[in-house]
């Protein structure tokens, strides 16, 4: 074992030496920690596909350097996430890290990156404290602090006054409820029901029956697309016909595939819509279809696509003096980056300011709506 390890180490050193900046084509390495196996693997696999699409395009664009992404499977388990973080930190060739999927793992890994000084950009970590851990943490997903109030205003403007709110019992779900409820109440509305459910709950019927009892005008939900499909199907089953609003996390073509006609008229806010005619969006959608065979990419893969591109663009600006610190500084300087999820600028707290559009499911597809 020792021999093998030493050999590996020597090989790595050799490779690092070969790819040192003094030779012809520099190769920078970016680490990407994500769940490739386990029960959140579908999200991680989506991120990997999106990352590969982005990297592919970048490699063909004739840039002065090459980039390699090292994928490591964290299974959305903090133990593994921290070990992977240490692995990335040890590899001197890795200058930046993407990931993780859940806030929990991102934050545990962040402790390592903070201590070692490695920029970390998460495409989906939405815990309020994540970006506060240190100056090395970035995220490009809009938090509920932005999305909640937008949805509150939208629903209020439609004449809805009494709302039932449910969300999954995760840090993200907690922020969904609190940000929405605060704004909605401030506008003069009433939250008549507010509860959480454990993600992966198959049977929403007791909750739906409870909601029906309180007679709200509409329901605001914080779920991912699989729970969303279950919820919508069971609402129809129980005959509860109320408008349902949701967040961008629900946006995924699979939601419609799983729920069928029951998903009709679902409202949500999104930063990414495949029907957006902007060229980079259409290019991404086409590449996604070609690579995965799926009809359309969802919100999450779009986030990953943008995250990778933001990292690549920061690398470009930092080149040829790429170090972890200089990459971090260039990331922080990202301004109006034109991504598929809208323009991204990192503010002083390394949080993004994004634009959200309103959308609805009509005729089996997500369509942008005006009011």
């Amino acid at each position: 074992m020792i021999n093998r390890r030493t050999t590996l180490l020597l090989a790595a050193a050799f490779a690092a030496g070969v790819s040192s900046p003094t030779l012809a084509q520099t190769t920078y390495k970016i680490g990407y920690q994500l769940p490739l196996t386990g029960n959140t693997a579908q999200y991680g696999q989506d991120f990997k596909n999106a990352a590969e699409i982005a990297l592919d395009k970048f490699s063909k664009a004739g840039k002065p350097f090459k980039v390699e992404i090292v994928f490591e499977d964290s299974r959305s388990d903090a133990k593994e996430g921290v070990s992977i973080a240490r692995k990335f930190v040890d590899d001197k060739a890795i200058v930046g890290v993407l990931g993780d999927f859940t806030s929990g793992v991102s934050m545990a890994a962040a402790q390592v990156y903070k201590e070692a000084g490695m920029p970390q950009l998460s495409q989906t970590a939405s815990h309020p404290d994540y970006a506060k851990i240190s100056q090395w943490q970035f995220r490009n997903i809009t938090t509920q602090a932005q999305e909640g109030p937008l949805n509150a205003e939208w629903m209020y403007s439609k004449g809805i006054r009494k709302v039932a709110v449910i969300a999954e019992q995760t840090d993200w779900g907690q922020t969904v409820v609190s940000n929405f409820a605060d704004k909605f109440k401030a506008l003069g509305g009433q939250v008549v029901f507010s509860e959480f459910f454990n993600r992966g709950l198959a049977d929403f019927r007791p909750i739906i029956t409870k909601i029906a009892r309180d007679r709200p005008d509409a329901i605001y939900t914080g779920f991912f697309y699989e729970d969303g499909a279950q919820f919508l199907k069971q609402m129809k089953q129980l005959g509860l016909a109320l408008p349902v609003h949701s967040t961008s996390a629900a946006y995924n073509a699979q939601l419609i595939a799983l729920a069928g006609a029951d998903a009709e008229a679902l409202n949500l806010t999104a930063t990414f819509l495949p029907s957006n005619p902007a060229p980079q969006v259409q290019e991404f959608v086409a590449a996604w279809k070609a690579k995965t065979g799926q009809a359309e990419p969802g919100q999450f893969p779009a986030q990953a696509f943008d995250a990778v591109n933001i990292m690549l663009s920061a690398l470009e600006r930092a080149h040829p003096n790429v170090t972890r610190a200089s990459l971090r500084d260039q990331l922080a300087a990202t301004k109006n980056f034109p991504g598929v999820t809208g323009d991204t600028t990192f503010d002083a707290n390394r949080e993004p300011a994004k634009k959200l559009v309103r959308a609805q499911v009509k005729g089996g597809a997500f369509i942008a709506v005006e009011k």
Binding site: K79, E115, Q174
Partner: protein, 343 residues
């Protein structure tokens, strides 16, 4: 056992203890330093924490023979106690560590008291139920535990003002605590107390008839096991810097159980080896790019080891006697000579 046996036996055990200590505190750090990767320190830390967890479960499952399916709950209670005290009240590691142990012990006591009279499989299911209940409470009692938001410790690992957060430094802290705890468990399982527990495991009605207070014994061993699981929890909280409920789910309980059984029921070195293997093997596989197949391979390895070594790698349990009886030979254990079954 003759007098000379005992003397050389003691000599041998001193040798082993010294060897282990030297390996742990001198050889391994030297090796890791040489290899220069903090990742290896991290893996080593996790191995030691889980070795402690496996050792604490071994006391209940291996020595006392009580199959229990909720061990991660005590681990979680300890971790949350340490984290809440450190994050909210700013208590230092040296105080949160024993506090976590005590919390784990208290929780174990609370679990043991109503369930001790339950027999084997009922007891196992009761521990499963309680373990799940504790997990759900950690997850949903948001006002107290912050629920799914988890707890962030900005302080890391500070002892007497010195920052031990770097993996290499944390290694020594974890190693000292884990080694000391495992030593205590070792002494316990090789004392009169441990032998009484073994008697209990083999046949508790018999032990009862011999005057051993089985219920009290079970409760005490359960409490001690909870104490050490709590200690392991504090170690995890301080070295990881952030904890959340999924770190303590049912899957973790099963993982710890697998470690104990892999190493062999009733064997403390076995439990530790089981921990090292079940943490190390997936990492090795990751290293060799078989990442996606990690868990399948671990499952296969577990299965193969159970199949070919049902007594575990270093086991001591009656399965060993099983084999002895079948193949006769020099291993006659006194009164049981050839009187088994329907001869």
């Amino acid at each position: 056992m003759s007098a000379s046996d005992t003397a050389s036996g003691k000599g041998r055990s001193y040798f082993w203890s010294a060897a282990i200590l030297i390996a742990l505190f001198v050889l391994v750090p030297m090796l890791l330093n040489f290899l220069g990767r903090s990742y290896l320190y991290q893996v080593a830390n996790i191995m030691m924490i889980f070795a402690l967890l496996a050792a604490s479960m071994h006391l209940v499952t291996g020595v006392a023979g009580l199959l229990q399916l909720g061990h991660a709950a005590f681990y979680g209670v300890g971790a949350y106690t340490a984290a809440l005290l450190a994050a909210n009240a700013g208590w230092p590691f040296l105080i949160t560590l024993p506090a976590a142990g005590i919390a784990g012990a208290l929780m174990a006591l609370l679990v043991a008291l109503p369930t001790m009279r339950l027999v084997s499989i009922y007891f196992a299911v009761a521990t499963l139920g309680i373990g799940q209940m504790l997990y759900l409470i950690l997850l949903n009692w948001v006002s107290f535990t912050k629920g799914p938001n988890g707890i962030l410790l900005f302080g890391g690992l500070k002892i007497f003002g010195q920052d031990f957060s770097k993996p290499a430094m944390a290694y020594f802290v974890v190693a000292i605590v884990a080694a000391a705890s495992i030593y205590v468990i070792h002494r316990l399982s090789h004392s009169y107390y441990g032998n009484a527990l073994r008697a209990l495991r083999e046949d508790d009605q018999c032990a009862d008839a011999m005057g051993i207070d089985t219920v009290r014994l079970k409760v005490v061993s359960f409490t001690i096991s909870g104490f050490f699981a709590g200690i392991a929890g504090a170690l995890w909280a301080h070295t990881a810097g952030y904890i959340s409920p999924p770190d303590f789910s049912f899957n973790v309980s099963i993982l710890i159980l697998a470690m104990v059984v892999l190493g062999g029921l009733g064997s403390l070195p076995g439990a530790i080896i089981g921990a090292v293997i079940l943490i190390g093997l997936p990492e090795v596989l990751r290293e060799f790019k078989a990442g996606d197949l990690r868990n399948v391979i671990v499952g296969i390895v577990l299965f193969a080891s159970i199949l070919f070594m049902p007594k575990g790698l270093v086991g001591e349990a009656s399965a060993l006697d099983l084999i002895r009886r079948q193949f006769g030979g020099a291993w006659r254990s006194g009164a049981q000579t050839g009187r088994i079954g329907w001869k």
